[in-house]
């Protein structure tokens, strides 16, 4: 069946900000879908609030709405654009839930919009736990015994007949939010309450626990003609009980016989047909009892998912692209397989390698949270590795995580596990944690049997035996010794995935210390180098055209040599807080720009969620860890042919930057490694600022607590303490006295020499600076070319004052309060710094402005997190410009080419807001500080700052109220500014509630406080407490500002309660002011949506009228 001609305009909904459980994989799928639908000639309208995505680049859709993903907003977009169809299966759970809301509210019917891909019935069947269960039983598939409950009474009744332990799963949730396993009645009661709350329809499924069973996933595709294929099977290394997003997963399935696999395949087809997903990809999860093979269906996602992205990268089969084509009418046999181009997409990929995905967590950012894995997803990113065997891919995957580990132990990190006794080690391995693979290896290495480990952990004995192969090989090569290794020995050990760094550590002893470089040279001299094989969907059966490679130790190499000039781009690795999708955006943009300029682009990255690891983003993709060894392997291979222009290290965040020093100087494109180092080296940076006469907060560097104390004795408190060479403010703190300073120094030294982020060592001292209170923070992104011209890309004024990490702070373009004079000083300083550092490419400079005086905080000659936001706000493709500049173009040339156009600075204001994951970490305090903890960002764009800010809050999930009551609890120093906020809100008709002290201040100054709230710590029992107030839902917005070591405990309870009862909570008075302005503007102008293309066009011409 061919393309549908009865539809013309298609609305695509993206997945919004990056949150836990929903990351860049939906940028990958959405970008593919946009491309395909445009290629097919449809008019594409895209809605997504996340400016850091590639899909929201104005060229990917005809109309791009960077607007809050909210049903009211989408209704307005539908009203304006009148799409014929809505495709909601490529934007994660967010898009699916919104589509359902649009159906329920009758919006799609009213505007005659067809839901394509999966219809409302199919979505409800898959997403509603009870409907799904009934549907599966109807078609004869097993499901765990379970019951559905809508309140606590029903829940308690359910366990009377189900027994314990049980799993609680709320309906319509994402990433396992609100799910958990309960073994006691008390645990159950607590989890049931949380689960009922997490479900938007207050429904939970209570299921007999099958923790310990084996877990599998199948990726299914179906077309209009009812053809079904399986793209990939996935087996989890962690048994049932750990969320699949938090499990180490392996493709293809390893321990299923064909008989079992085919039954599972039949079940997956029956499932997709019964649920009724008409076209596209779905993911079906199964559990198998390892004792007798009993199979049950766990759940089904009627949409492209995180696993689909993994399956696409694991097999080379572009699920999202094909799903988009299927949605508009094609059948699988009509679509060619791009990889072979000779065969159709209607087949089941066969692979001849093993893929391992390993999650990356951020527990260190959320003190108080136990780092135990469960049924609720907590990881913030993942790495994938390809090897010919499981041991090879496992070791590559572990070193891809960039957690300072060199592989599966065989490094300094193993000491932690070797220090435990047998029983303790096994006991710890029995609990799913990020350390589990290392514990398993350590246990096997000391001779604990596979049987014992299996009994304790339920990790399949096959996986354990494969780890044993690594253990045995290690013992074998340790016995042989570095000097006596033969070529065959080298080949064998490398085939098991050992890194040169692991081997260097293994062979180092008191007499001799080997480096990874020594190992590498010896190995190469023995003729042992990796070859690069191809991911081709067909296990070599057909000739493949797609240059998607991975390194392994085998006989023959498959890289097709070319003679075009080429640029290697180092990606950003697994997502983590502080380094996420923004940097993938940068790498992809560089690749696109350089490709268009005639270069061959070569990408190295190991994050399966990203657009950069799509095989057609660059001319060649190497799916490899971003470590010294792996990157040098690729560079060696690429150096053997064609013209090697250089390597881009400045676009992928800290990951590639750390590798810059290892490359030959002439290979680093753009700003030199020496300049990068100059900006990081405190002493040299200080003298540079002095020389340029740019003021800095006073400060110094310290390697010990004594040195730090000496500095604060000189500069005074408060002081900002932070490690060098980190992103995302890892371990940054503001200290107000000696005691806290000593504690901070102690914590930093605790990370030791493992190379973990934020570690303290003599080479990497800690920076101690005077902290400027009440200062406004400003970020500048700029590009400098080799002739010295500097283009100021954007000046962002932060809403929250200095002290809140810039990544967690809202910011606006153009700056809403800075004077022209201050802006000109900032620009001047930024230019001077770029010049002095001889930057070629991007630079980000952070300033603090206090009482009209501008201080420079730091400069980073690389892409910053804000670059995509700047590009969306101003219409200037900053990274593309920078990439061209890095390979020698001048800004003048780019202007002449028409590539660089003037920034759009009038007509609209864009506000970026951070999205924080506190709902996942209820134990952690939601107050913002110098350590970044946001996982994603959204953008609000509108005609005034207030409107844009209000939209940004709505997009971030904290919609500002139109009416009702505001609760204020302010630290003393915020009371003056808080008064302004309260007065404005009172004028808008809001009633005010406040804690005793705040209330007194407001009353004194003529703002009526309706409800006075007791401080928790005071215990005036005649007054309601904040928590009681929030529980009775009489509050629509909370503004609570803590300061220093002040009323921490009180504020913590208020913020936790706000989180629990879903009341938007602002933790700075600056945000309160912005919110007041937003609510005022919103009341005056109302909601209006406008596409990015229109904003840019209008900005180039006339200013938009306010209605």
């Amino acid at each position: 069946m061919p393309r549908r001609d009865d539809i013309h305009t298609i609305l695509l909904i993206g997945s919004g900000p990056i949150v836990i459980g929903q990351a860049c994989e939906f940028d990958y799928s959405g970008t593919q879908a946009c491309r395909v639908l445009k290629e097919e000639g449809y008019r594409v309208v895209l809605a997504n609030s996340n400016p850091a995505t590639i899909m929201t680049d104005p060229d990917f859709a005809d109309r791009t709405y960077i607007e809050p993903l909210d049903v009211e907003v989408l209704t307005a977009i539908i009203d304006r654009e009148r799409p014929d169809a809505l495709l909601a299966t490529l934007g994660g759970q967010t898009a699916l839930n919104l589509a359902m809301e649009l159906v329920e509210r009758g919006v799609l019917e009213r505007f005659n919009v067809e839901l394509i891909g999966a219809d409302a019935t199919a979505i409800a069947t898959a997403e509603d736990r009870s409907q799904f269960k009934v549907a599966m039983q109807e078609i004869g598939l097993g499901v765990p015994p379970s019951a559905v409950a809508h309140d606590l009474d029903e829940s308690m009744e359910a366990i009377r007949h189900l027994g314990l332990p049980v799993v609680i799963r709320p309906a319509y949730i994402l990433g396992g939010k609100g799910t958990g396993i309960a073994s006691t009645e008390d645990e159950f009661r607590q989890l049931a309450i949380i689960g009922l709350d997490a479900s938007p329809i207050s429904e939970i499924l209570i299921e007999r626990s099958i923790a310990g069973w084996k877990e599998y996933e199948l990726e299914v595709m179906r077309d209009r003609a009812d053809n079904c294929v399986i793209i990939c099977s996935i087996e989890n290394l962690d048994p049932m009980g750990v969320h699949t997003g938090d499990s180490i997963t392996v493709a293809p399935a390893q321990t299923l016989s064909d008989v079992e696999y085919q039954l599972m395949r039949d079940a997956a087809f029956a499932c997709i047909r019964r649920v009724g997903v008409e076209t596209g990809g779905s993911n079906v999860q199964f559990a198998i009892n390892p004792e007798d093979g009993t199979m049950v269906v766990i759940e089904m996602n009627p949409r492209v998912s995180r696993s689909s992205a993994l399956a696409s990268k694991a097999t080379g089969f572009p699920i999202a692209k094909i799903a988009a084509r299927l949605a508009v009418g094609y059948t699988l046999d009509e679509i060619p397989n791009d990889i072979t181009s000779k065969t159709p997409a209607c087949f089941e990929p066969s692979i001849d390698y093993v893929v391992t995905k390993i999650p990356r967590w951020a527990f260190e950012k959320f003190p108080g949270t136990p780092s135990v894995l469960g049924t609720q997803m907590q990881s913030v990113g993942e790495a994938m590795a390809i090897g010919r065997t499981f041991p090879e891919s496992l070791q590559k995957g572990l070193r891809s995580l960039e957690l300072g580990r060199l592989g599966l132990n065989c490094d300094p990190g193993e000491a932690e596990f070797d220090a435990l006794d047998d029983d303790e080690l096994v006991r710890r391995a029995a609990v799913g944690t990020p350390d589990r693979p290392f514990q398993l290896e350590a246990a096997l290495r000391r001779g604990i049997t596979i049987e014992r480990l299996y009994a304790a952990t339920r990790v399949d004995p096959w996986f354990l035996d494969q780890i044993s192969a690594i253990v045995e090989e290690r013992a074998h090569v340790a016995a042989i010794g570095f000097e006596a290794m033969t070529a065959r020995d080298w080949q064998r050990v490398k085939r098991l995935g050992f890194s040169d760094a692991q081997l260097a550590w293994l062979w180092s002893n008191f007499e001799k210390t080997l480096t990874a470089g020594d190992v590498r040279s010896r190995r190469l001299s023995m003729g042992i180098a990796p070859v690069f094989k191809t991911v081709d969907t067909c296990a070599g059966e057909f000739e493949a055209n797609t240059p998607y490679h991975y390194a392994t130790y085998e006989d023959t190499d498959e890289v097709v040599e070319t003679d075009r000039p080429k640029v290697v781009i180092l990606g950003s690795g697994p997502n983590r807080i502080g380094q996420g999708i923004e940097f993938d955006y940068c790498c992809v943009h560089a690749s696109f720009a350089l490709r268009d300029a005639g270069y061959e682009t070569v990408m190295i990255n190991c994050n399966p969620e990203t657009v950069s690891t799509d095989y057609d983003t660059s001319d060649r993709l190497y799916f490899e860890p971003l470590t010294e060894e792996d990157v040098l392997n690729v560079i060696d291979r690429e150096s053997r042919f064609g013209e090697f222009v250089g390597v881009i290290v400045s676009l992928g965040g800290q990951t590639p930057l750390k590798l810059a020093g290892l490359l030959q100087e002439h290979l680093v494109l753009g700003t030199s490694a020496a300049s990068i180092d100059l900006a990081e080296d405190r002493e040299r940076w200080n003298s540079l600022c002095a020389q340029l006469e740019i003021p800095q907060p006073a400060g110094g560097t310290a390697s010990t607590a004594e040195e730090a104390l000496a500095i604060t004795a000189h500069i005074g408190y408060p002081a900002l303490v932070r490690p060098s060479y980190v992103l995302g403010g890892r371990a940054m703190t503001i200290v107000y006295d000696d005691e806290n300073l000593q504690r901070a120094m102690k914590e930093l030294s605790g990370f030791g020499s493992l190379g973990k982020e934020g570690g303290l060592s003599a080479e990497r001292p800690v920076l101690v600076d005077r902290f400027l209170e009440d200062a406004t923070e400003v970020d500048v992104d700029a590009v400098r070319d080799a002739t010295g011209e500097v283009l100021i890309g954007g000046i962002m004024e932060h809403v929250e004052e200095a002290g809140v990490h810039s990544g967690d702070s809202a910011c606006a373009i153009p700056p809403p309060t800075l004077s022209a004079q201050v802006i000109s000083v900032i620009e001047g300083y930024a230019r001077a710094i770029a010049e002095a550092l001889e930057v070629v490419g991007l630079i980000n400079v952070q300033f603090a402005v206090r009482e009209g005086q501008v201080f420079v905080i730091e400069a980073n000659p690389r892409a910053s997190r804000t670059v995509p936001f700047v590009a969306k706000a101003t219409g200037v493709p900053l990274v593309k410009v920078a990439a061209r500049v890095m390979v020698g173009a001048t800004l003048a040339e780019l202007r002449k080419e028409g590539f660089l156009t003037p920034a759009i600075t009038s007509g609209h204001v864009a506000v970026k807001e951070a999205v924080l994951p506190f709902s996942r970490f209820p134990e952690a305090d939601s107050v913002l500080g110098p350590e970044m903890r946001s996982t994603g960002e959204v953008m609000g764009i509108d005609r005034t700052f207030g409107l844009a800010f209000a939209k940004s809050q709505m997009a971030a999930g904290g919609r500002l109220p139109d009416a009702g009551s505001i609760f204020l609890s302010l630290a003393d120093r915020d009371k003056a500014a808080g008064l302004i906020v309260a007065r404005r809100l009172a004028n808008l008709g809001f009633t005010i509630a406040a804690t005793v002290g705040t209330a007194a201040h407001l009353n004194e100054n003529g703002v009526a406080v309706e409800t006075v709230v007791a401080k928790l710590t005071d215990g005036d029992s005649s007054l309601p407490t904040a928590v009681e107030l929030l529980a009775t839902t009489k509050v629509n917005l909370v503004i609570n500002t803590p300061r220093g070591s002040g009323p921490r405990s009180d504020g913590y309870d208020i913020r936790s309660a706000a989180g629990l009862y879903h009341v938007p909570c602002l933790t700075t008075v600056a945000a309160g002011l912005a919110a007041a302005q937003g609510m005022a503007d919103w009341a005056k102008h109302g909601l209006e949506v406008r596409s990015l293309q229109e904003h840019h066009q209008a900005g180039r011409g006339e200013q938009l009228e306010l209605t």
Binding site: P344, F347, S350, W462, E472, R488
Partner: protein, 367 residues
């Protein structure tokens, strides 16, 4: 398997040498071969699971099977999954042989099965290099073992492969036997029949399995409701006398053929067969069923195919979506049909099981 902790298993270096001189380094696994040399026609198979069914499929008689998936043996073996009484292949080539099995169904390690049934193997091979080589050159004879390269090359070059040899004679049953107890009566010619096929037929009928040499009159004397032509190894053109027998059966009784049975039916109908460059060996081949346009993912294992345009009295019913090869035919005037692929699966997808129902319908309608 390994008894001492940290002691790596003993490695027996071995080589694989193809008749064109390509050499691969590996390690010996499975049974010892006489004088350290095993030979056969080297073919590859791209299944991700189902190694036991492949190894015990008689259609691989005379061949050495290279598995493209690197880990083989993970879930062990079980007598339940044997496709015949013993493996007829000459050896297997893998990247990694499992050291330990893990599956509740298994009762033996794959390596133990190889040793018990005398199948030698070689592991540690860059099977992707081998596959790509065979893809470009076509299947070819090869030799592997623990002896020296020159000896292996000589052995490879001395190996005839499956060209021009009646392989069926080596695998067919010596005496008739019966399986199933259905109402219908089927006579199944054993050209190397797989157990899974018998399981399917056994659900439809009482099936008597007969040697490839049984004459048409002997078959018809049994008054069957249908005759089944099984899969089997080698070149259909070399199977002595069978096409003639089938010619006598056509029109007398409903006929269903699979794989070699399909090629022999086509030959009996006057069609020609030819050898494919490297055959179809895998569990993921898309086939279009022309009557409905729908696609089924199929299990395939054949080196020969029916030549397009050489069939006068039958229609093509199925084609391979990848390369257009004929995958199924049906006679216009008489009740006989066949498919080139394996609807019974074992291993492979179950998408084409409806064909057994079609055979039942055909038998019920009669001639």
């Amino acid at each position: 398997m390994s008894t001492d902790v940290h002691t790596r298993q003993q490695v027996r270096p071995a080589l694989l040498v193809l008749s064109d001189g390509e050499v691969f380094e590996g390690e010996a696994i499975g049974a010892d071969s006489p004088d350290g040399v095993a030979t056969g026609e080297v073919v590859f198979n791209t299944v991700l699971s189902g190694y036991q069914e492949v190894i015990t499929d008689p259609s691989y008689a005379g061949q050495v099977i290279a598995f493209t998936y690197p880990h083989i043996g993970n879930y062990g073996v079980t007598a339940l999954d044997d496709e015949s009484r013993r493996p007829f292949c000459r050896g297997i080539i893998v990247r990694e042989m499992a050291r330990r099995r893990s599956n509740w169904r298994a009762d033996e390690d794959l390596n133990e099965l190889l040793i018990r049934t005398g199948v030698p193997g070689i592991a540690g091979i860059d099977t992707r290099r081998l596959t790509r080589h065979l893809r470009d050159t076509g299947s070819m004879p090869g030799a592997f073992g623990t002896t020296d390269e020159a000896t292996l090359l000589k052995a490879a070059q001395g190996e005839d492969g499956t060209n021009g040899i009646d392989m069926v004679a080596q695998v067919t049953t010596a005496n008739p036997y019966v399986v199933g107890n259905g109402q219908r009566r089927v006579v199944a010619y054993d050209f190397g029949i797989k157990t899974t096929i018998l399981r399917h037929l056994g659900e439809l009928a009482t099936v008597e399995i007969v040697p490839a040499t049984m004459s048409a009159s002997e078959v018809l004397a049994r008054q069957p409701d249908g005759v089944f032509l099984s899969n089997g190894p080698g070149d259909p053109a070399c199977v002595v006398g069978v096409a003639e027998t089938i010619k006598e059966l056509i029109g007398q009784v409903p006929i269903f053929g699979i794989c070699l049975g399909h090629q022999l039916l086509a030959t009996a109908l006057g069609a020609e067969t030819y050898k494919l460059a490297f055959g179809h060996h895998g569990g993921n081949h898309p086939v279009r069923r022309l009557s409905t346009g729908s696609i089924e993912i199929t299990s395939q294992n054949h080196n020969f195919a029916v030549a397009d345009g050489t069939l006068a009295s039958a229609d093509v019913t199925h084609i391979n979506l990848n390369d257009g090869v004929i995958e199924g035919i049906r006679c216009r005037d008489v009740p006989a049909f066949s498919v080139q692929y394996h609807p019974e699966a074992g291993p492979g997808p179950h998408d084409a099981r409806y064909l057994f129902e079609e055979f039942a319908d055909l038998m019920d309608k009669g001639t």
